[in-house]
């Protein structure tokens, strides 16, 4: 079977679903963060595939920006996790229920 845009998009969808599943099912804050990275990567793959099959470079520029913003997001998020761990001695989402009504 010839590999076209459709195959790349299917891979991207499946990867996104995996990331979403990780965010919903896993209870460790760090693993949830890694699943978020997985979802961002799936979006990147879809954008690069669109860029190649439409002969336009703009998609790749967008991916470049997404990678930069993801790096900033990871830095801030991990700093938050470390600050949280200092206060609560736990990186487990079920222990963080202060805002529960």
């Amino acid at each position: 079977m010839n590999v076209g845009l459709e195959q790349y998009l299917v891979v991207s969808f499946l990867l996104f679903a995996l990331g979403l599943l990780g965010v919903v099912v896993r209870r460790n804050l760090l693993v949830i963060y890694m699943s978020l990275e997985l979802m961002l990567n799936a979006a990147n793959l879809a954008l690069v595939a669109f860029s190649w099959f439409n002969n336009k470079l703009d998609g790749q520029v967008l991916v470049f920006f997404i990678i930069t913003v993801a790096a900033a997001e990871v830095a801030v998020g991990l700093a938050l996790i470390v600050a949280l761990y200092r206060k609560r001695q736990s990186a487990h989402v079920e222990d963080l229920t202060t805002m529960k009504l």
Partner: protein
């Protein structure tokens, strides 16, 4: 089947397999295992980028993600000194609900894909090298580029503030 097609299937299978092992590893629930498999996922995804002629992005993917971001993750895991996650009772409702909703979303996405007419432009001549991307980035996209640099500065200041010892 041509060589690039075979390579696509190899890299796609590798990406998805390692992605599964990041989220649900049957042998270990240690965050370090997840981080290592995330590195493998990212590297095989760089292979997919190569197949799409996005050479610069493949390099950036490995340098920034597998290099910088994952090292940051490993540093934090080391800092927190996480033990193997205890076997807590998994809430059946949350697990099944998550599985069903994710399955529904993937079903909707695949049906959409089936219903859409994707016709690629016939001569695929795009090259995502450094020169082409830089040309676009510093001409058409120069304002977003500068804004992103401000964003990075803001993130840096925020991280330094957050990691102070006596956080108010």
């Amino acid at each position: 089947m041509a060589i690039p097609d075979i390579l696509f299937y190899v890299f796609a299978a590798l990406t998805l397999l390692c992605g599964v092992l990041v989220v649900a590893n049957p042998f270990s629930r240690n965050p370090i295992t997840s981080a290592m498999f995330l590195v493998l996922t990212i590297v095989s995804m760089a292979g997919l980028f190569m197949l799409l002629h996005a050479f610069f992005l493949a390099a950036v993917q490995i340098l920034v993600y597998a290099g910088a971001v994952m090292v940051l993750f490993l540093f934090v895991i080391m800092l927190l000194d996480l033990k193997e996650e205890q076997r807590r009772k998994i809430k059946m409702f949350g697990f099944v609900g998550g599985l069903v909703s994710v399955g529904a979303i993937i079903l909707i996405a695949l049906r959409c894909l089936r219903a859409t007419n994707l016709n690629a432009q016939s001569p695929l001549t795009l090259e995502g090298g450094t020169a082409e991307l830089g040309n676009l980035l510093f001409k058409q996209y120069v304002l977003p580029f500068e804004v992103v640099s401000v964003l990075l500065l803001v993130a840096m200041v925020g991280v330094i503030l957050l990691s102070k010892k006596d956080l108010k």
